[in-house]
């Protein structure tokens, strides 16, 4: 590819007009290459080129101002600071319009970031609640186990009480008439023991149902917790610019 590099051509030695044309070419070439620093200095106001040379400087000043403004605003936004607006003063026409577009974008980004922040806070609270619910449900599971154990003990007591009542009935029969009253008492004790056994059975049936329900609850809470945890990690990864799978 052949490019004309005016900047390395020596200025013609004669004629101030040629000198200004060379200066204009040098500055415009640098600008086209992305160097917005160069300006034409010591412009000879008597030269017929003076208005053109000033216009070139002015164009460069405006372009430079826009590039600095846009760059500053967007680099602040990339750091999560959305208050740094492109200053509209002095940016005319398309420069101003582009600046307004950037400002609208950073305002929108700021609004979305604050919504995201609120959602994050809500999710944080939700995680706290879920964690608490998780603790409560595992406490519940523990209590159910305890009730199950206790009802086992009660069931054993009922069984042995029943045996005792049976023995008492036999002993009462052996002493004949004198033991009649005692036989009535033993019979009542036996009835109570049977009632206890029945109630214990009911308790055990209920406890079994509670156990199934609480296992399901713990499972659901666990799944919800995992989903939230994954979302939080994905969000953190997105913010730090890393994909999830590159984390480990």
């Amino acid at each position: 590819m052949t490019t004309l590099d005016y900047s390395t051509q020596a200025p013609p030695s004669s004629g101030s007009d040629s000198k200004w044309i060379h200066e204009a070419t040098r500055v415009c070439t640098s600008a086209a290459q992305g160097d917005l620093e160069a300006r034409i200095l010591n412009i000879d106001e008597k030269s017929e080129f003076a208005p053109m040379l000033h216009a070139i400087n002015h164009l460069l000043d405006m372009t430079d101002a826009f590039v600095r403004e846009a760059g500053a605003s967007l680099s602040f936004a990339s750091e999560g600071k959305y208050f740094r607006r492109v200053l509209p003063e002095g940016l005319l026409g398309t420069f101003g319009q582009a600046g307004a577009i950037i400002n609208a974008a950073t305002i929108q980004m700021g609004a979305e970031a604050s919504q995201l922040h609120e959602a994050e806070q809500e999710r944080g609270e939700l995680i706290n609640d879920i964690t608490a619910a998780k603790d409560v449900s595992s406490d519940l599971a523990q209590s159910t186990e305890d009730i199950e154990k206790m009802s086992g003990v009660i069931s054993t007591i009922a069984y042995r009480t029943n045996l005792l009542a049976l023995n008492a009935t036999i002993e009462a029969a052996r002493v004949g008439e004198a033991g009649k009253g005692f036989a009535v008492v033993a019979d009542e004790v036996k009835k109570l023991a049977n009632q206890s056994a029945e109630v214990t059975k009911e308790i055990q049936t209920n406890v079994a149902a509670i156990k199934v329900a609480s296992t399901e609850t713990v499972g659901s809470i666990d799944r919800i917790w995992k989903v939230l945890d994954h979302q939080v990690k994905a969000r953190d990864a997105a913010v730090s610019g890393k994909a999830l799978d590159t984390e480990d």
Binding site: E37, L41, R68, R84, E89, G90
Partner: protein, 175 residues
């Protein structure tokens, strides 16, 4: 480098669509001034080229403001400030200045660029009494160093009491 020309108390203005542009080398010597700069400050290009930028320093500017700015720009931050400048004939003009370091390919500071725009009235209403207070405090000290060392904490404290960073305050004022 500030000029001894007596102040006239006369304020100059420039158009809202205009930007005053100047560039300096790392020592603060002017390497470029645009036509708006020269017209408003009342100098010719030849008069300002190579001169220290504080040729337009106005005595009403508290030292701590410049100190604060230079500390930040040395960290390669862009800086903003409301500044009153002095014209060649002793007139003055208020600007909303934006100063950025110009970096080379290795990220080294090779100069400074300043764009100055018309300041908002809201900003001037806030800044003028603040500068007056800071200046009054500085006037009790003799050396420039003593002056900014006394007033800089007051400026920082003011910002803290407003609960905003310097940049946030600037953008609130110019909105």
């Amino acid at each position: 480098m500030t000029t001894d020309t007596p102040l006239t108390g006369n304020e100059r203005f420039f158009d809202e669509d205009e930007i005053i542009v100047s560039k300096t080398d790392t020592k603060g010597r002017i390497t470029y001034a645009n036509r708006v700069f020269l017209r408003v400050a009342g100098y010719t290009e030849a008069e300002v080229m190579g001169k220290a930028h504080n040729i337009i320093r106005h005595p009403d500017m508290p030292r701590c403001v410049f100190r604060f700015l230079w500390d930040r720009i040395a960290d390669k931050h862009e800086v903003f400030a409301y500044v009153v400048n002095k014209c060649k004939n002793g007139d003055h003009y208020w600007v909303f200045a934006h100063v950025t370091p110009t970096l080379d390919h290795n990220g080294r500071i090779i100069g400074y660029h300043s764009s100055r725009r018309v300041p908002s009235q809201t900003a001037l209403d806030t800044v003028k009494p603040l500068y007056k207070e800071l200046l009054e405090l500085e006037s009790r000290y003799r050396t420039p160093r003593e002056q900014w060392q006394a007033s800089l904490p007051v400026l920082v404290e003011k910002l803290e009491s407003m609960g905003v960073t310097y940049d946030e305050l600037i953008f609130k004022l110019c909105a």
